[in-house]
Symmetry: C2
Subunit: 202 residues, 2 copies
Protein backbone atom coordinates (compact mmCIF):
# COMPACT_ATOMS: atom_id res chain seq x y z
CA UNK A 1 0.00 0.00 0.00
CA UNK A 2 1.31 3.47 -0.83
CA UNK A 3 1.83 5.67 2.19
CA UNK A 4 -0.88 8.28 2.84
CA UNK A 5 1.79 10.97 3.08
CA UNK A 6 2.62 10.36 -0.62
CA UNK A 7 -0.97 11.10 -1.64
CA UNK A 8 -0.37 14.74 -2.54
CA UNK A 9 2.62 13.92 -4.76
CA UNK A 10 0.79 11.04 -6.44
CA UNK A 11 -2.20 13.29 -7.22
CA UNK A 12 0.08 15.96 -8.71
CA UNK A 13 1.98 13.48 -10.89
CA UNK A 14 -1.23 11.80 -12.07
CA UNK A 15 -2.85 15.15 -12.86
CA UNK A 16 0.13 16.36 -14.87
CA UNK A 17 0.19 13.15 -16.91
CA UNK A 18 -3.56 13.12 -17.56
CA UNK A 19 -3.69 16.83 -18.50
CA UNK A 20 -0.94 16.18 -21.09
CA UNK A 21 -3.05 13.55 -22.77
CA UNK A 22 -6.61 14.86 -22.36
CA UNK A 23 -6.31 18.53 -21.44
CA UNK A 24 -7.43 20.17 -18.20
CA UNK A 25 -11.13 20.17 -18.99
CA UNK A 26 -11.05 16.61 -20.29
CA UNK A 27 -9.71 15.24 -17.02
CA UNK A 28 -12.04 14.74 -14.07
CA UNK A 29 -11.12 14.50 -10.42
CA UNK A 30 -12.46 10.96 -10.26
CA UNK A 31 -9.93 9.78 -12.84
CA UNK A 32 -7.07 11.62 -11.12
CA UNK A 33 -7.94 9.94 -7.82
CA UNK A 34 -8.22 6.54 -9.53
CA UNK A 35 -4.86 6.82 -11.29
CA UNK A 36 -3.10 8.18 -8.22
CA UNK A 37 -4.74 5.64 -5.91
CA UNK A 38 -5.16 8.50 -3.47
CA UNK A 39 -7.92 8.46 -0.86
CA UNK A 40 -10.69 10.84 -1.88
CA UNK A 41 -10.76 12.35 1.59
CA UNK A 42 -7.21 13.59 1.20
CA UNK A 43 -7.90 15.61 -1.94
CA UNK A 44 -9.61 18.58 -0.29
CA UNK A 45 -7.16 18.33 2.59
CA UNK A 46 -4.23 18.93 0.21
CA UNK A 47 -6.13 21.12 -2.28
CA UNK A 48 -8.77 23.04 -0.35
CA UNK A 49 -9.52 25.19 -3.41
CA UNK A 50 -10.10 22.19 -5.63
CA UNK A 51 -9.02 21.33 -9.15
CA UNK A 52 -7.50 24.76 -9.89
CA UNK A 53 -5.07 24.36 -6.99
CA UNK A 54 -4.15 20.86 -8.11
CA UNK A 55 -3.60 22.12 -11.66
CA UNK A 56 -1.28 24.86 -10.46
CA UNK A 57 0.73 22.27 -8.53
CA UNK A 58 0.79 20.01 -11.62
CA UNK A 59 2.07 22.85 -13.85
CA UNK A 60 4.72 23.81 -11.30
CA UNK A 61 5.73 20.15 -11.02
CA UNK A 62 5.92 19.52 -14.78
CA UNK A 63 7.63 22.80 -15.71
CA UNK A 64 10.95 22.09 -13.94
CA UNK A 65 11.09 18.66 -15.60
CA UNK A 66 11.25 20.49 -18.94
CA UNK A 67 13.84 22.91 -17.55
CA UNK A 68 15.90 19.84 -16.62
CA UNK A 69 15.44 18.58 -20.19
CA UNK A 70 16.87 21.88 -21.46
CA UNK A 71 19.86 21.62 -19.11
CA UNK A 72 20.53 17.99 -19.99
CA UNK A 73 20.54 18.77 -23.73
CA UNK A 74 22.86 21.77 -23.46
CA UNK A 75 25.17 20.25 -20.85
CA UNK A 76 25.98 17.43 -23.28
CA UNK A 77 26.62 19.83 -26.17
CA UNK A 78 29.64 21.84 -27.20
CA UNK A 79 27.69 24.45 -29.18
CA UNK A 80 24.31 26.17 -29.01
CA UNK A 81 23.35 24.52 -32.29
CA UNK A 82 24.16 21.02 -30.98
CA UNK A 83 22.12 21.75 -27.86
CA UNK A 84 19.11 22.76 -29.97
CA UNK A 85 19.35 19.57 -32.03
CA UNK A 86 19.63 17.45 -28.90
CA UNK A 87 16.73 19.19 -27.15
CA UNK A 88 14.30 19.06 -30.08
CA UNK A 89 15.24 15.44 -30.81
CA UNK A 90 14.72 14.32 -27.22
CA UNK A 91 11.28 15.97 -26.97
CA UNK A 92 10.35 14.53 -30.36
CA UNK A 93 11.45 10.99 -29.45
CA UNK A 94 9.62 11.14 -26.15
CA UNK A 95 6.46 12.37 -27.87
CA UNK A 96 6.74 9.59 -30.47
CA UNK A 97 7.15 6.95 -27.72
CA UNK A 98 3.95 8.29 -26.08
CA UNK A 99 2.05 7.50 -29.29
CA UNK A 100 1.86 11.27 -29.98
CA UNK A 101 -0.42 11.60 -26.96
CA UNK A 102 1.92 13.29 -24.49
CA UNK A 103 1.46 16.97 -25.23
CA UNK A 104 3.16 19.78 -23.39
CA UNK A 105 1.91 19.59 -19.78
CA UNK A 106 1.92 23.38 -19.47
CA UNK A 107 0.17 24.15 -22.76
CA UNK A 108 -2.53 21.58 -22.04
CA UNK A 109 -3.55 23.52 -18.93
CA UNK A 110 -2.94 26.97 -20.44
CA UNK A 111 -5.21 26.61 -23.47
CA UNK A 112 -8.11 25.30 -21.39
CA UNK A 113 -7.91 27.90 -18.62
CA UNK A 114 -6.36 31.19 -19.80
CA UNK A 115 -7.29 33.97 -19.64
CA UNK A 116 -10.12 32.85 -17.32
CA UNK A 117 -7.86 31.75 -14.48
CA UNK A 118 -5.20 34.35 -13.79
CA UNK A 119 -3.67 31.95 -11.29
CA UNK A 120 -3.13 29.18 -13.86
CA UNK A 121 -2.06 31.57 -16.60
CA UNK A 122 0.54 32.99 -14.21
CA UNK A 123 1.88 29.52 -13.40
CA UNK A 124 2.14 28.63 -17.11
CA UNK A 125 3.82 31.96 -17.91
CA UNK A 126 6.34 31.41 -15.10
CA UNK A 127 7.28 27.93 -16.37
CA UNK A 128 7.77 29.13 -19.95
CA UNK A 129 9.83 32.08 -18.70
CA UNK A 130 12.03 29.65 -16.74
CA UNK A 131 12.69 27.56 -19.86
CA UNK A 132 13.54 30.69 -21.86
CA UNK A 133 15.94 31.91 -19.16
CA UNK A 134 17.68 28.52 -19.06
CA UNK A 135 18.17 28.61 -22.83
CA UNK A 136 19.37 32.21 -22.54
CA UNK A 137 21.95 31.08 -19.96
CA UNK A 138 23.25 28.29 -22.18
CA UNK A 139 23.25 30.52 -25.29
CA UNK A 140 25.45 32.98 -23.42
CA UNK A 141 27.70 30.26 -22.01
CA UNK A 142 28.17 28.63 -25.42
CA UNK A 143 28.78 31.92 -27.22
CA UNK A 144 25.73 31.86 -29.53
CA UNK A 145 25.53 34.88 -31.81
CA UNK A 146 22.69 37.34 -31.36
CA UNK A 147 20.29 38.30 -28.59
CA UNK A 148 20.35 35.48 -26.02
CA UNK A 149 17.03 36.60 -24.52
CA UNK A 150 15.37 36.40 -27.94
CA UNK A 151 16.91 32.95 -28.48
CA UNK A 152 15.36 31.80 -25.20
CA UNK A 153 11.87 32.79 -26.28
CA UNK A 154 12.53 31.40 -29.78
CA UNK A 155 13.07 27.96 -28.24
CA UNK A 156 9.76 28.18 -26.37
CA UNK A 157 7.92 29.27 -29.54
CA UNK A 158 9.63 26.64 -31.70
CA UNK A 159 9.15 23.76 -29.26
CA UNK A 160 5.51 24.56 -28.51
CA UNK A 161 4.68 25.00 -32.19
CA UNK A 162 6.38 21.74 -33.11
CA UNK A 163 4.61 19.93 -30.25
CA UNK A 164 1.25 21.07 -31.69
CA UNK A 165 2.03 20.38 -35.35
CA UNK A 166 3.52 16.95 -34.56
CA UNK A 167 0.33 15.99 -32.74
CA UNK A 168 -1.56 16.60 -35.98
CA UNK A 169 1.02 14.97 -38.28
CA UNK A 170 2.25 12.17 -36.00
CA UNK A 171 5.82 12.55 -37.23
CA UNK A 172 8.98 14.34 -36.14
CA UNK A 173 9.29 16.76 -39.06
CA UNK A 174 7.92 19.79 -37.12
CA UNK A 175 10.73 19.35 -34.57
CA UNK A 176 13.32 19.23 -37.35
CA UNK A 177 11.87 22.45 -38.76
CA UNK A 178 11.77 24.08 -35.32
CA UNK A 179 15.44 23.26 -34.79
CA UNK A 180 16.33 24.74 -38.19
CA UNK A 181 14.36 27.94 -37.44
CA UNK A 182 15.97 28.42 -34.05
CA UNK A 183 19.48 27.76 -35.37
CA UNK A 184 18.91 30.14 -38.29
CA UNK A 185 18.58 33.10 -35.90
CA UNK A 186 22.18 33.13 -34.61
CA UNK A 187 23.44 32.09 -38.04
CA UNK A 188 21.78 35.15 -39.52
CA UNK A 189 23.21 37.37 -36.82
CA UNK A 190 26.67 35.95 -37.45
CA UNK A 191 26.61 36.75 -41.16
CA UNK A 192 24.85 40.13 -41.14
CA UNK A 193 26.06 43.37 -39.64
CA UNK A 194 24.33 45.46 -38.52
CA UNK A 195 21.52 43.14 -37.46
CA UNK A 196 18.31 44.18 -39.18
CA UNK A 197 14.89 43.72 -37.63
CA UNK A 198 16.38 41.98 -34.63
CA UNK A 199 13.61 40.85 -32.33
CA UNK A 200 13.55 42.71 -29.06
CA UNK A 201 11.77 41.78 -25.91
CA UNK A 202 10.51 45.29 -25.12
Amino acid sequence: MPRVSDARERMVIAAAALFQQQGYNGTGLTQILEVSAAPKGSFYHHFPDGKEGLAEAAVRHAGPAITAWVDAAFNQSSSFEDGIDRLTQSVSEWFDRSGWSGGCPVTSVLLDTAPGSERLRGACRDMMADWARRVEFHAGRLGAHGDAEALGLAVVVGLEGAWVAARARQDDVPFTIAAAMIKALPAQNATRAPIENSPTLG
Copy 2:
Protein backbone atom coordinates in the same frame (compact mmCIF):
# COMPACT_ATOMS: atom_id res chain seq x y z
CA MET B 1 -36.23 35.09 -36.01
CA PRO B 2 -33.31 33.37 -37.73
CA ARG B 3 -34.32 30.88 -40.40
CA VAL B 4 -34.26 27.22 -39.39
CA SER B 5 -32.19 26.43 -42.48
CA ASP B 6 -29.37 28.56 -41.03
CA ALA B 7 -29.27 26.44 -37.90
CA ARG B 8 -26.45 24.17 -39.06
CA GLU B 9 -24.22 27.08 -40.03
CA ARG B 10 -24.94 28.93 -36.78
CA MET B 11 -24.05 25.85 -34.73
CA VAL B 12 -20.77 25.41 -36.62
CA ILE B 13 -19.79 29.07 -36.19
CA ALA B 14 -20.70 29.10 -32.49
CA ALA B 15 -18.81 25.85 -31.87
CA ALA B 16 -15.65 27.13 -33.61
CA ALA B 17 -15.72 30.36 -31.55
CA LEU B 18 -16.37 28.59 -28.24
CA PHE B 19 -13.70 25.92 -28.84
CA GLN B 20 -11.16 28.71 -29.47
CA GLN B 21 -11.84 30.20 -26.08
CA GLN B 22 -12.55 27.16 -23.91
CA GLY B 23 -11.25 24.14 -25.78
CA TYR B 24 -13.28 21.22 -27.11
CA ASN B 25 -13.77 19.53 -23.74
CA GLY B 26 -14.61 22.79 -22.00
CA THR B 27 -17.52 23.50 -24.32
CA GLY B 28 -20.82 21.73 -23.84
CA LEU B 29 -23.58 21.22 -26.38
CA THR B 30 -25.99 23.24 -24.26
CA GLN B 31 -23.80 26.33 -24.55
CA ILE B 32 -23.32 25.84 -28.30
CA LEU B 33 -27.08 25.64 -28.77
CA GLU B 34 -27.62 28.72 -26.58
CA VAL B 35 -25.05 30.85 -28.42
CA SER B 36 -26.23 29.71 -31.84
CA ALA B 37 -29.90 30.10 -30.92
CA ALA B 38 -30.43 26.83 -32.76
CA PRO B 39 -33.34 24.56 -31.91
CA LYS B 40 -32.14 21.57 -29.94
CA GLY B 41 -34.10 19.22 -32.15
CA SER B 42 -32.08 20.24 -35.19
CA PHE B 43 -28.73 19.32 -33.66
CA TYR B 44 -29.01 15.55 -34.12
CA HIS B 45 -30.67 16.10 -37.46
CA HIS B 46 -27.59 17.95 -38.75
CA PHE B 47 -25.04 16.03 -36.67
CA PRO B 48 -26.35 12.49 -36.17
CA ASP B 49 -23.00 11.41 -34.70
CA GLY B 50 -22.99 14.19 -32.11
CA LYS B 51 -20.32 16.57 -30.90
CA GLU B 52 -17.48 14.90 -32.79
CA GLY B 53 -19.23 15.56 -36.10
CA LEU B 54 -19.94 19.16 -35.14
CA ALA B 55 -16.28 19.61 -34.14
CA GLU B 56 -15.09 18.27 -37.49
CA ALA B 57 -17.38 20.76 -39.24
CA ALA B 58 -16.10 23.57 -36.98
CA VAL B 59 -12.46 22.73 -37.75
CA ARG B 60 -13.16 22.54 -41.49
CA HIS B 61 -15.02 25.87 -41.24
CA ALA B 62 -12.30 27.68 -39.26
CA GLY B 63 -9.32 26.30 -41.17
CA PRO B 64 -10.09 28.05 -44.51
CA ALA B 65 -10.53 31.36 -42.63
CA ILE B 66 -6.88 31.09 -41.64
CA THR B 67 -5.92 30.09 -45.18
CA ALA B 68 -7.65 33.29 -46.31
CA TRP B 69 -5.62 35.20 -43.70
CA VAL B 70 -2.44 33.76 -45.23
CA ASP B 71 -3.55 34.78 -48.72
CA ALA B 72 -4.55 38.29 -47.64
CA ALA B 73 -1.17 38.88 -45.98
CA PHE B 74 0.90 37.65 -48.92
CA ASN B 75 -1.29 39.22 -51.61
CA GLN B 76 -0.59 42.65 -50.10
CA SER B 77 3.14 42.03 -49.88
CA SER B 78 5.94 42.37 -52.39
CA SER B 79 8.29 39.93 -50.66
CA PHE B 80 8.04 36.74 -48.63
CA GLU B 81 9.49 38.60 -45.63
CA ASP B 82 6.85 41.35 -45.82
CA GLY B 83 4.15 38.70 -46.04
CA ILE B 84 5.45 36.98 -42.90
CA ASP B 85 5.47 40.29 -41.00
CA ARG B 86 1.95 41.08 -42.15
CA LEU B 87 0.61 37.64 -41.31
CA THR B 88 2.13 37.40 -37.83
CA GLN B 89 1.08 40.97 -37.05
CA SER B 90 -2.51 40.43 -38.12
CA VAL B 91 -2.88 37.24 -36.05
CA SER B 92 -1.24 38.96 -33.10
CA GLU B 93 -3.49 42.04 -33.32
CA TRP B 94 -6.59 39.90 -33.61
CA PHE B 95 -5.54 37.81 -30.60
CA ASP B 96 -4.86 40.98 -28.57
CA ARG B 97 -8.30 42.37 -29.47
CA SER B 98 -9.89 39.12 -28.22
CA GLY B 99 -8.32 39.75 -24.81
CA TRP B 100 -5.83 36.91 -25.51
CA SER B 101 -8.74 34.50 -25.38
CA GLY B 102 -9.10 33.62 -29.06
CA GLY B 103 -6.71 30.72 -29.49
CA CYS B 104 -6.18 28.80 -32.70
CA PRO B 105 -9.51 27.12 -33.51
CA VAL B 106 -7.75 24.05 -34.89
CA THR B 107 -5.25 23.57 -32.05
CA SER B 108 -8.02 23.94 -29.45
CA VAL B 109 -9.75 20.87 -30.88
CA LEU B 110 -6.54 18.98 -31.70
CA LEU B 111 -5.02 19.04 -28.21
CA ASP B 112 -8.24 17.88 -26.56
CA THR B 113 -9.00 15.05 -28.99
CA ALA B 114 -5.86 13.66 -30.66
CA PRO B 115 -4.79 10.93 -30.89
CA GLY B 116 -8.08 9.56 -29.48
CA SER B 117 -10.24 10.71 -32.40
CA GLU B 118 -8.61 9.84 -35.70
CA ARG B 119 -11.41 11.73 -37.44
CA LEU B 120 -10.66 15.02 -35.66
CA ARG B 121 -6.89 14.58 -35.85
CA GLY B 122 -7.26 14.08 -39.60
CA ALA B 123 -9.33 17.25 -39.97
CA CYS B 124 -6.78 19.29 -37.98
CA ARG B 125 -3.87 17.81 -39.96
CA ASP B 126 -5.65 18.66 -43.22
CA MET B 127 -6.17 22.29 -42.21
CA MET B 128 -2.55 22.77 -41.14
CA ALA B 129 -1.37 21.14 -44.36
CA ASP B 130 -3.55 23.57 -46.33
CA TRP B 131 -1.96 26.57 -44.58
CA ALA B 132 1.52 25.21 -45.23
CA ARG B 133 0.75 24.61 -48.91
CA ARG B 134 -0.58 28.18 -49.27
CA VAL B 135 2.60 29.60 -47.73
CA GLU B 136 4.64 27.30 -49.99
CA PHE B 137 2.78 28.72 -53.01
CA HIS B 138 3.44 32.32 -51.99
CA ALA B 139 7.09 31.57 -51.11
CA GLY B 140 7.59 30.22 -54.60
CA ARG B 141 5.69 33.07 -56.24
CA LEU B 142 7.69 35.71 -54.33
CA GLY B 143 11.03 34.02 -54.94
CA ALA B 144 11.90 33.22 -51.31
CA HIS B 145 15.25 31.48 -50.93
CA GLY B 146 15.34 27.92 -49.69
CA ASP B 147 12.93 25.01 -49.53
CA ALA B 148 9.42 26.40 -50.02
CA GLU B 149 7.81 23.28 -48.52
CA ALA B 150 9.92 23.66 -45.37
CA LEU B 151 8.99 27.35 -45.20
CA GLY B 152 5.31 26.37 -45.31
CA LEU B 153 5.64 24.10 -42.29
CA ALA B 154 7.87 26.66 -40.56
CA VAL B 155 4.99 29.16 -40.68
CA VAL B 156 2.63 26.64 -39.09
CA VAL B 157 5.17 25.83 -36.34
CA GLY B 158 6.01 29.49 -35.73
CA LEU B 159 2.41 30.71 -35.68
CA GLU B 160 1.13 27.93 -33.44
CA GLY B 161 4.04 28.32 -31.03
CA ALA B 162 3.54 32.08 -30.85
CA TRP B 163 -0.21 31.63 -30.35
CA VAL B 164 0.51 29.43 -27.31
CA ALA B 165 3.29 31.57 -25.81
CA ALA B 166 1.31 34.80 -26.28
CA ARG B 167 -1.61 33.30 -24.38
CA ALA B 168 0.71 32.85 -21.40
CA ARG B 169 2.46 36.23 -21.75
CA GLN B 170 -0.44 38.35 -23.00
CA ASP B 171 1.82 40.34 -25.30
CA ASP B 172 2.84 40.25 -28.96
CA VAL B 173 6.53 39.45 -28.47
CA PRO B 174 6.18 35.74 -29.37
CA PHE B 175 4.76 36.74 -32.78
CA THR B 176 7.71 39.08 -33.37
CA ILE B 177 10.08 36.25 -32.51
CA ALA B 178 8.17 33.81 -34.74
CA ALA B 179 8.43 36.23 -37.67
CA ALA B 180 12.19 36.63 -37.09
CA MET B 181 12.69 32.84 -36.94
CA ILE B 182 10.73 32.20 -40.12
CA LYS B 183 12.50 34.99 -42.01
CA ALA B 184 15.90 33.76 -40.81
CA LEU B 185 15.45 30.50 -42.74
CA PRO B 186 15.52 31.96 -46.27
CA ALA B 187 18.07 34.57 -45.16
CA GLN B 188 20.37 31.77 -44.07
CA ASN B 189 19.82 29.91 -47.31
CA ALA B 190 20.61 33.06 -49.29
CA THR B 191 23.96 33.59 -47.57
CA ARG B 192 25.21 30.02 -47.29
CA ALA B 193 26.12 27.63 -50.05
CA PRO B 194 25.85 24.74 -49.92
CA ILE B 195 22.92 24.72 -47.52
CA GLU B 196 23.85 22.76 -44.41
CA ASN B 197 21.35 20.83 -42.35
CA SER B 198 18.52 21.99 -44.54
CA PRO B 199 15.24 20.65 -43.20
CA THR B 200 13.62 18.11 -45.44
CA LEU B 201 10.10 16.84 -45.36
CA GLY B 202 11.06 13.22 -46.33
